[in-house]
């Protein structure tokens, strides 16, 4: 599953639960896998100064982000004994309750997937130029900052 060319990690709008279920299904032919670990980022309806977030609108410096996603991918394969790894991130509007990030790692052994998934998610948060605009119910907005 390891490739040398950056893939496009982005998809327009929310990532559906069907897409995730189908992605899990596709791994059932890979019988060397013993453990999968999946991280899903979901948009929270945070209340800030009395206003509720209804959606996040994502933009990205796409070429640089895809390059960074690729670097993260390559270094994860180098550090950890992974069989498969998939990353998907939303662009555009993702409503509260919907999924905006899907990271999926698989390995023969479980210890590896725990370490690898956390490494990858933290690297995505820190290193990929993706920008979230939190849209409130009254259509005002603020720029999201990762903590």
């Amino acid at each position: 599953m390891q490739s040398k060319k950056p893939k496009n990690v982005f998809q327009q709008g929310a990532i559906s639960s069907d897409f995730i279920g189908n992605s899990i299904f596709k791994h059932q032919t890979k019988t060397s896998i013993g453990a999968h670990n999946i991280f899903l980022g979901q948009v929270r309806a945070d209340v800030i100064d009395g206003k509720t977030v209804s959606a996040i609108e994502y933009t990205a410096y796409e070429d640089m982000a895809n390059k960074k996603f690729h670097e993260i991918r390559e270094s994860a394969f180098e550090k950890f004994d992974l069989t498969c790894m998939h990353i998907y991130h939303s662009l555009g509007t993702v409503k509260a309750g919907e999924i905006c990030l899907f990271v999926f790692v698989s390995s023969p052994r479980r210890k590896v997937v725990f370490e690898a998934l956390e490494f990858i998610v933290e690297a995505i948060k820190a290193e990929t130029p993706v920008f979230g605009k939190e849209i409130f119910e009254d259509e005002s907005h603020q720029w999201k900052i990762n903590s």
């Binding site: 980022g41 994502y58 933009t59 990205a60 410096y61 070429d63 640089m64 982000a65 390059k67 991130h89 905006c100 990030l101 998610v121 995505i124 948060k125 820190a126 290193e127 990929t128 130029p129 993706v130 920008f131 979230g132 605009k133 720029w143 999201k144 900052i145 990762n146």
Partner: protein
């Protein structure tokens, strides 16, 4: 030198555009920023990083590249 500058997120709100092409006669990133600060004074109060040809660089880096981007704090995921 003609350079292409891209603005993202909160930065694009300040500049009111997503990219522009500029003639640049300085040497360092800091020279470029000073020139941008004189056009967009609010940029001085806004947090961002600078990328050149898709790699983050510092204020003391020489501007060589065709593509410069001003990136506000990352908030993916």
């Amino acid at each position: 030198m003609r350079i292409n500058i891209k603005y993202f997120g909160q930065i694009a709100e300040v500049t009111q555009k997503e990219e522009e092409s500029l003639e640049f006669s300085g040497i360092f990133v800091s020279d470029l920023l000073n020139s941008l600060f004189s056009t967009y004074s609010e940029l001085k109060n806004t947090s961002f990083k600078v990328a050149q040809n898709q790699e983050l660089i510092s204020n003391t880096t020489k501007v060589t590249g065709a593509e410069i981007a001003l990136l506000p704090p990352f908030s993916g995921g």
